[in-house]
Symmetry: C2
DNA sequence: GAAAATAGTTATCGCGCGTAAAATTTAATT
DNA sequence: AATTAAATTTTACGCGCGATAACTATTTTC
């Protein structure tokens, strides 16, 4: 390492023997300079560890290389997992991801977009709340910054959307459940904030009709993001009350299912597809903990990696083309059936 | 809202009738200007929505108001939870938190510190890996930036450390377990990356001795962060092999316990403190999911909020005093016993 | 080996704001 | 009303880098 600290590009130009404008070009794109000069620069770089001042760079560049990543709630392992994938994709493409969680609070989502605006990001990857989101605020934001949404769609807003095909997924698990036992009832929250929940309900209705069974939907009250609690309390109540028309329950998501499984356990009911079991419970999402529930949860796995990478690469394409998409893209990945013991 | 966009402070000075230097003072500290002028500024602000350019501000300020928050793995709900608390504390104090996860990879921890350095943060709140961390890199970083560590201690490095008193916590749960049934065996990983694990083992040994019981420690191999998997696979193996000397197992952390509970379920063993139960399993940390395991996990709760807030306020104190601490502070909060059904 | 293309250099400006010193206004005190 | 202290305005400079124009040096092309 070098002797004394390099304070700015001027000084680094002096010690490296390369002019400042050329250095500037190099730092913007190392491949934009001749191979021999690049090597000279990198040699000097390894001796003096200088890095351009981020703030000065971003102040002067037309667009930064920052990418905002906004998720509704990092406390939900689903989002921390997909957030991680997105971050890595940004890093790999040479962008600087800035991860923001809205902490389950739609107002915070607006605040996050506001602070992102101040950071002049090249683009934003947004997993919106959905219905609870401030649609107008998001639309306004999308006018200024290229945005790709993932997980939850906001119809007609933003450049593109990447998510899971709920109709395919639900059909898949409904068919499996029907083939392997009694057709499923559907368990969900009364006022789901996530638009996927509505699609899933709709998909359930269609799938049941297609298979010639009567659908049964059970909605329970509950606010906020403590889905396990709601699944445990309300799900347990429904089980005790014996309101489920069949012995099989398809939950709108894994977190509700995790709660319901714990309630069933408390009630001393054996859940699963075995002979001695009295009911089956299935979920959707393949939550990281679903593998460790008792019994392990049968569910539909979303392809986290594919969603994250497609969302990211779509955004990069928009950014690098410097033009907005002529037509809004929607990409849906198939869910995969994960058969475990619970159903 | 105003008519056309204000481009810079100069233009905002024009429309607000306040000179630019005074505006600059105001944005640095609203209370540093006379009440009447502050009101004039805020009136104009509500009309024209102008915000100072973050990059220009940070380029010129001696120190930014950014606070780096580095956690080892956001996929672990413990860290996403404590990260959230820390973020909120920063926001409340008027700082801008920048949350970075090291994704379970110690090399990423170094990379995170490196990118933070470029952001010239006022201070950093760091939950290090511990043994796996690059001690030298952290120490070097601490020379340049005020750092408060939390959760995991790196002896002698950084301004201060805030965490949980493992000796108190372990003593608490060991005493409870001894009073309420057979004394516990201790279950952990052979090569724990977290320094708390070593403290907990030590504390277990001391507590058992104090209570007059022979300690039994069972260490299992396993790498990485997939603790549930290790708890399930290796824990299940130990249970099947019948190597535990008593019917009670204290796990080094909740995630191992969650895995072991699922293994016990698979083996058809009833876990809990009831008459019909064959073994007891306890954890440590009060992981967000511990409430929903089958049976719900008896554990020691760390005081997330207290740790996060103390770490943050300690850092603010250092930043605002503009002097380093004369003596390194270590603050340990007591754990609280959470009695659930598993033990 | 000369012309053409490419890459690098020097010089200069601008970005939006922090900051300091001096001049001026405003408010508080006697 | 005069004195003084505090707040504000004016003026001016600097931060570190992006961007550009006009040259100059180096490399390619035939």
């Amino acid at each position: 390492m070098g002797q004394r600290k390099i304070r700015n590009m001027e000084e680094f130009a002096a010690v490296s023997g390369i002019s400042r404008p050329t250095l500037s070009k190099y730092f913007n794109d190392p491949d934009s300079v001749r191979r021999s000069t690049r090597e000279k620069i990198e040699a000097a770089l390894s001796q003096h560890d200088y890095r351009p001042n981020v703030y000065a760079v971003n102040q002067n560049r037309r667009k930064t290389r920052n990418i905002g990543v906004v998720v509704p709630n990092l406390a939900d392992p689903f989002f921390s997992e997909i957030g991680r994938e997105v971050e890595l994709a940004c890093l790999a493409a040479g962008y600087s991801p800035i991860l923001l969680s809205s902490h389950g609070n739609p107002a915070q989502e607006r605040a996050n977009l506001d602070s992102l605006r101040a950071l002049k990001p090249a683009g934003v990857l947004l997993a919106p709340f959905g219905k609870a989101s401030d649609r107008e605020a998001i639309a306004r934001f999308c006018r200024d910054v290229p945005v790709v949404t993932f997980d939850a769609n906001v119809e007609g807003v933003c450049e593109a959307f990447v998510g899971t095909d709920n109709f395919q997924s639900v059909e898949l698990i409904v068919e499996y459940l029907c083939r392997s036992g009694e057709p499923p009832c559907f368990f969900e929250m009364k006022t789901p904030s996530n638009p996927n929940a509505n699609k899933r309900r709709q998909a359930y209705l269609e799938a049941m009709e297609r298979h010639g069974f009567a659908p049964h939907i059970h909605q329970v009250p509950g606010e906020g993001w403590n889905f396990e609690e709601i699944g445990a309390t309300e799900g347990g109540r429904l089980i005790s009350a014996g309101v489920f028309e069949t012995d099989t329950v398809l939950c709108s998501n894994d977190r509700l299912a995790i709660g319901m499984l714990s309630a069933a356990y408390e009630l001393g009911l054996r859940v699963g597809h075995g002979k001695d079991c009295v009911m089956r419970i299935a979920g959707q999402d393949d939550h990281p903990f679903s593998r460790y529930t008792c019994p392990p949860l049968t569910t539909i796995a979303q392809d986290y990696g594919a969603i994250a990478n497609r969302a990211a690469s779509t955004l990069f394409r928009i950014i690098e083309s410097e033009t907005r998409l002529t037509e809004r893209e929607e990409t849906l990945f198939d869910g995969k059936l994960v058969m475990r013991a619970s159903a």
